[in-house]
């Protein structure tokens, strides 16, 4: 089956360091991947979308890569801040491209 997997363990890092989150996919080749942020009690917020023909995309302190050989997307937050603490979700397009399928998310904690 087509799967999208994120590290279920929480990631704890020190303020100022770079956080790197991983999203792996199996048994298919997505046309694009998306990354969202979710805070407790809120809906997910869109951050970045990267297409299969793009190696890297940046937005302020955020960077996403897409490696079709490794079947993996990496999400980086540079100069991390406590305010970056949240759950980060990776998402792929569903069958036929009409729906968005979310991974379970990785919880990030940034310590001051």
């Amino acid at each position: 089956s087509q799967k999208i997997e994120q590290n279920s363990e929480a990631l704890n890092i020190q303020e100022g360091k770079t956080a790197t989150l991983t999203c792996n996919y199996t048994n298919y080749s997505p046309a694009y991947l998306q990354w969202y942020r979710q805070d407790p009690g809120r809906g997910p917020v869109f951050l970045l979308l990267i297409r299969e023909n793009e190696k890297e995309k940046r937005k302020e302190r955020l960077k996403v890569t897409f490696d079709t050989t490794l079947k993996q997307s990496l999400f980086h937050i540079t100069a991390s801040q406590p305010a970056d603490s949240a759950t980060y979700l990776c998402a792929r397009e569903g069958d036929g491209g009409f729906k968005t399928i979310f991974g379970a998310g990785t919880r990030l904690f940034v310590k001051a």
Partner: protein, 113 residues
Amino acid sequence: EAGVTQFPSHSVIEKGQTVTLRCDPISGHDNLYWYRRVMGKEIKFLLHFVKESKQDESGMPNNRFLAERTGGTYSTLKVQPAELEDSGVYFCASSQVTGEKLFFGSGTQLSVL
């Protein structure tokens, strides 16, 4: 610009009762989606509208769930009769481009007792 709004934010009902959730998408967004997160699980797709038409309802759990989008504007999701396993957070989202850059509401926390 107003975001996606959902009502109510919380609903507590007894098993067997009916509940209707409402979603107002961002104006101009033809695509509207319903998702659900059950405790400890990932966000699961329920269905997708394009304007007033159901494009994909493959994620709807069973026929106790009915979604409508009259006139292609706001949408409602009715659960009748509610069961204990229907408890969770129901999210609505909308987008301009199908499947890309979804804008989510804050969700409706549904508790079925």
